[in-house]
């Protein structure tokens, strides 16, 4: 595959950014003066409008002029940090800033751009960066904005649990005796990947089969069930039910399958049975009949023979696994920490939503858990395929569009969809948001970002469009490009916030002081659920990536395919898993 450009060479990372070493003049300046001069500038930092760029002005009505030539209209005017003298710098023309640095005694090399609040070294003739200066700028902007976080749910899970090193475990003699006493090792004759097994179509159930195949090969989910973390025999025993068939016969005539059967209903048990069957080594197609039966009892409003939506099934299934967790231990999902059940532990992330009043800058922030991200395809062809890498923070001033790099190749891409998902969006005049500070409804700017990434990211592409007005629905067949490796860093709350505040060096919401933070944003594709055909007469198929080989799971038929087939396929649900897992110490007591 493609080679990765290594950006990590000689800079060290702080808060997931590179922190460039200071130039000798800045180093000397700091050695002599510390960070006081930068922090003192905080009083002079003024934003022209809420959420706007900070400028340096001694008083609000000041019009800075170059001390040497009197010009005020130069694109760059620099104020010396040592003596506050303002000089212009206009290459290829004269640089009075450079003249100031050389003509004065040493210590006047560091200046600040009065319009952009950027540090400049007049000797090196280059823009420089300083952590304390940036902190001063951000703090001045925050104070101006007077933002508050209205949290609908307190993100408790955001408390940092320290990471621990992975300690490999292998069974000791006593463990081996235990393991072998009631079981025999599986014999995987061929080299075929384990767990690869077709699923019989039970009658328009490809929507279910496709999602099940993806889940059967979702690494953390697979590991959970194969590690016997939900033992269906033990679960049955605990719920005190012996034989469901007998019950079934008795209740057959009541018609809605409630009561006794529900006590035995456990989608996790059915999943456990399915994992056992699929990984058993038996390669004949498996019929997920019991699972269908259980799911229809759980989601009775979806129980019908017609073709269903795979995404709807996915959500319903996760909910089903969550519901059936022991009631005493069941924690509500609203925290998004995923401690409630394995389904949420694997798929649950946290989204952050910021709504900023355009009149006063007051920002209201909410956090909400999510198990996947649904993305719109552009409604018109040839929409911006790639946003530029620079998102100017001017966008907070009102321009809802990010600057395009101009490389519009006309293809929709997953990253393009994510860019659109996280871009600041103006809530129009008909959608005014009540501002706590202004105490009236104001036009606002809304921006989404990802506060916490799940272990497994499922992206749902909204290909089915409904119009209740026109009473019609249609399917959007347009191709969507998706990468095999995905870096989610640009969509994190820390990145979005940082960009909003001019990309300053500052710990933003979600920044972890862990040097390995950037790796937990890297994801790798492992499953793609595709839909072909029409809205009401279509077919779902799943492509699985096992040991870097792609397999097509079309109900009972499992075949090997070239990766080009997958790249060219019409993705409907795209599954990515974190490249690297980190371990945190367990909160459970373990008997030694």
């Amino acid at each position: 595959m493609s080679s990765k450009i290594n950006r990590h060479h000689y800079h060290h990372r702080f808060n997931a950014q590179i922190f460039p070493p200071p130039c000798p003049h800045l180093a000397e300046f700091r050695a002599r003066n510390g960070s006081k001069p930068f922090r003192a500038l905080q009083d002079c930092l003024r934003a022209k409008s809420p959420g706007g760029r900070a400028a340096i002005r001694r008083d609000p009505s000041e019009v800075p002029r170059c001390g040497a030539c009197g010009e005020s209209a130069r694109p760059r005017l620099y104020a010396c940090v040592a003596c506050a003298a303002i000089s212009c710098h206009a290459p290829p023309g004269p640089s009075h800033a450079a003249v100031h640095a050389t003509s004065m005694p040493p210590g006047h090399e560091i200046a600040v751009d009065v319009d952009r609040a950027e540090l400049f070294c007049c000797a090196c003739r280059d823009q420089i960066y300083d952590r304390d200066f940036d902190a001063a700028v951000v703090l001045s902007q925050i104070t101006t904005l007077n933002s508050a976080t209205i949290q609908s749910t307190k993100p408790e899970n955001l408390r940092k649990r320290r990471r621990v090193d992975y300690r490999p475990w292998s069974p000791d003699l006593r463990d081996r005796v235990l393991m072998e006493s009631g079981s025999s090792p599986l014999d995987y004759g061929s080299d075929m990947p384990r767990g690869l097994r077709g699923l019989n179509n039970l009658g328009n159930t490809c929507f279910m089969n496709s999602v099940l195949q993806a889940l059967l090969h979702t690494p953390p989910l697979r590991n959970y069930f194969l590690s016997d973390r939900h033992n269906r025999y033990y679960c049955k025993q605990k719920n005190g039910v012996t034989n469901t068939n007998a019950d079934g016969k008795r209740n057959a005539c009541t018609g809605d399958g409630n009561g006794e059967k529900n006590a035995r209903l456990c989608l996790a048990c059915d999943m456990d049975a399915m994992f056992s069957a699929v990984f058993s080594g038996d390669r004949r197609p498996y019929s997920p009949a019991k699972f269908l039966y259980s799911w229809w009892q759980h989601a009775s409003n979806l129980a019908s023979y017609e073709q269903q939506d795979a995404h709807e099934f996915f959500i319903s299934m996760l909910d089903g696994i969550h519901e059936k967790v022991e009631k005493d231990l069941r924690k509500p999902h609203n925290q998004g920490h995923g401690d409630c059940c394995i389904a949420h532990r694997v798929f649950s992330g946290i989204l952050r939503s910021d709504v900023m009043c355009m009149a006063c800058g007051f920002t209201s922030t909410t956090y909400d858990p999510c198990v996947d991200i649904s993305l719109d395809l552009e409604s018109h062809h040839g929409g911006s395929a790639k946003s530029a890498s620079t998102k100017t923070h001017h966008s907070c001033n009102g321009e809802a569009d990010s600057i395009n790099s101009g490389q519009n190749c006309g293809i929709s891409t997953l990253m393009g969809c994510l860019d659109r998902f996280t871009r600041p969006e103006r809530l129009g005049a008909d959608q005014k948001f009540f501002c706590q500070q202004c105490q009236v409804r104001q036009e606002s700017l809304k921006q989404m970002s990802i506060r916490k990434l799940p272990l497994v990211s499922c992206f749902h592409i909204k290909r089915f469009e409904h119009s209740s007005i026109r009473k019609m629905s249609r399917k959007i067949d347009r191709y969507l490009q998706f990468p095999f490796s995905l870096d989610m860093t640009p969509y994190l709350s820390s990145s979005i916030l940082r960009s909003r505040f001019g990309n300053r060096i500052f710990p933003f919401d979600g920044d972890e002081p862990d040097a390995s933070n950037e790796m937990s944003s890297e994801f790798e594709l492992f499953a793609v659920v595709t839909h072909t055909g029409k809205l009401d007469a279509g077919h779902y198929v799943t492509y699985l990536r096992l040991s870097n080989q792609w397999y097509k799971c079309d109900d009972a038929w499992v075949t090997q395919v070239n990766e080009n087939i997958v790249r060219a396929a019409q993705g409907y649900m795209i599954f990515y898993v974190q490249k690297m897992f980190y371990y945190k110490p367990s909160e459970n007591q373990v008997a030694s």
Binding site: P369, L427, N503, Y551
Partner: protein, 178 residues
């Protein structure tokens, strides 16, 4: 920024050209300064990788579209990787866990639908009773319940432009216990 024939331009035009030039220079410096910061702080996106992925996808689509390539054949008549063939309709036989009858796999879902009293036909019978009002609140009208589409109300939560309901918890919001 000078016009083509500066001498011929009126003082007004010269002045406006001059102002325009200053504004343009200022904007250029804005962008340069921002890009400089992003590059120096390592905040730029790995465009090389992104472009590589895009290139691979474009290449893949070309190759797949080429009729001379052995593309995907209709899976139903193919031998799978384990060397097995399967009939178009799954013919495994097992017992229905609701009524105990022996059912063929490929016909299990329609059987189960009737067996459990679910499905549109069974529902329409029930609709005439008191459950009708209940149905109205679960995901809209009974008709839309069976649509094979994703429920837009559950996905709207994440789309941009949803006004002022940021506090709403994201949930499928529709699943009700029978």
């Amino acid at each position: 920024m000078s016009g083509p024939n500066e001498d011929n331009l009126s003082p007004h035009t010269q002045l406006s050209s001059h102002f325009f030039g200053d504004l343009l220079d200022s904007i250029i410096v804005d962008v340069a300064s921002e890009c400089h910061r992003i590059a120096k702080l390592g905040l730029d996106r790995n465009l090389e990788e992104e472009e590589e992925e895009l290139r691979l996808s474009t290449q893949a689509r070309v190759r797949v579209a080429d009729p001379s390539n052995s593309g995907e054949t209709n899976s139903k008549y193919v031998v799978d990787i384990f060397g097995q063939t399967h009939p178009p309709v799954a013919n495994e036989i097992f017992e229905c866990m609701n009524c105990g009858r022996s059912i063929m796999a490929g016909r299990f879902a329609p059987h189960l639908e009737k067996c459990m009293g679910k499905g549109r036909k069974a529902r329409l019978k029930a609709t005439r009773s008191s459950t009708a009002a209940q149905n109205r609140y679960s995901r809209g009208s009974p008709v839309s319940t069976y649509s094979p589409h994703s429920n837009s109300s559950s996905t709207n939560r994440l789309s941009n432009g949803t006004p002022g309901i940021a506090g709403e918890e994201y949930s499928n919001g529709t699943l009700e216990e029978p």
